[in-house]
Amino acid sequence: MRAGFVMSEVGIGLRRNLTMTFAVVITVAISLSLLGIGLLSNSQVRTMKDYWYDKIEVSIFLCGPLSETPSCAGGPVTAEQRLEIQQDLQELPVVQTVYYESQSEAYQRFQERFKDSAIAQNVTVDQLPESFRVKLKDPTEFAVVESAFSGRPGVDVVQDQRAILEKFFSLLNVLRDGALVIGLASVLTAALLISNTLRIAAYNRRRETTVMKLVGASSFSIQLPFLLEGLFAAIVGWGISTGILSGLKYVVDDRVAPLLTFTNFFTWNDVWVASAYLLITGVVVSGFASILTLRKYLKV
């Protein structure tokens, strides 16, 4: 068969079944958009992790007059203990930098962070502990630091900021997984709709396909126009879904980013990568749905 003839058959098929074609395009667009939102939330979680993990530290709080842990039974940390801790920290291979925060620095930071709150006025310098702020080469190596310093005389608590973030991220992961599941479920719906639509199309054109079969058309050439119709709907739907994701990116950059300054957001590159995955998903899913349906209903 000539390409021109195949294309004219595809055109006839799409026009004759215009409302169904429209339904398929919209369903594909929506389902791919949902899947794309799932993919972008994945990018977003990753971006936030990179942003935060880069900033988090391990805090080693030293014993003060108010400390109650057993390792602080000997009273506030002595100058020798402090020096020893600092030296040991700097010798640990997992440690990148060590910063000593004195009580007065801790007080300043506290005042700054809670400057609009009444609590700032009720805190005095000696109530806040001095600490070492340790930045690790790999933020997941916290256990090394903890086992080395926890319970040591002069050390009150070893605190990993990552533990706090992990709770937040595990919540985000659940949301992301939910978005991906909804996306995949709707892609499955789109596949079923494509399958049903092609079945109707094959039924509507059974006269043509019977004649094609009789004059000796191959299965492939009989199925090709239907396959192309499915792909056409998938690609138009994909185009719309990429538009929707781009719109989402604009809204995030324009409206959300100025309000939420504590993190970065997914990039345009993430949008294009997601879009590429959506194109592959759309083509593969529609191709599979078409081929399986047509094999069943358009046998030679």
């Binding site: 068969m1 000539r2 003839f5 006269r207 004649v211 004059v215 000796g216 191959s218 030679v300």
Partner: protein
Amino acid sequence: MIRFEHVTKTYAKTDKPALSDVSIDVAKGEFVFLVGQSGSGKSTFLRLVLREEKASSGTIHVAGKDLGTLSNWKVPELRKQVGTVFQDFRLLPNKTVFENVAFALHVLGHTKKEIAREVPEIVELVGLAEKLDRRPGELSGGEQQRVAIARAYVSRPAILIADEPTGNLDPGTSIGIMKLLDRINREGTTVVMATHDSSIVDQMRKRVIELESGHVIRDQVRGVYGYTG
């Protein structure tokens, strides 16, 4: 051209075979009538020739191909050599006479130029040169069957299968169709025609194969329809 050797066909979920130990040899260029009552196995015979069905046992050769070993993807090759005409014409109602005949050539990959040359030629042969732009709905039954024959014959198949081609037509029109089939046969195409129409069979005096309950009960060189008429 068509050779059945001890062919039995039993459809799934039935005990009684539709064709039972049938051996038939149709030579190149023959004209054969296939007669018998409904359910005698005529349609099964034709379906086997087109390989819409496979024989349960026995061997079938059509146009030099052993249908028992013919792989599915080669079936289109077989069907290009076997033209088919049916009682219900099977024309595409939205297409003109020209487009209906051209459809077959498009499917077979002919170029527009070839189609523009071949279609009017064959339509003239079947006597519809004046009606190239009509749609099937605007034609009489006989004319529609002529279009169907043109479509089946335009690619010059070696064999033409006609399943009750005059079943929906009045006797006068039927004679015209038979003359056309006879002419196609005289150009060298093997024609196998299944029919109930006794007067046609009696007039044509061609080879007659009669089937009853899946068995060949008669194979006459210059036969008539049958003693019961």
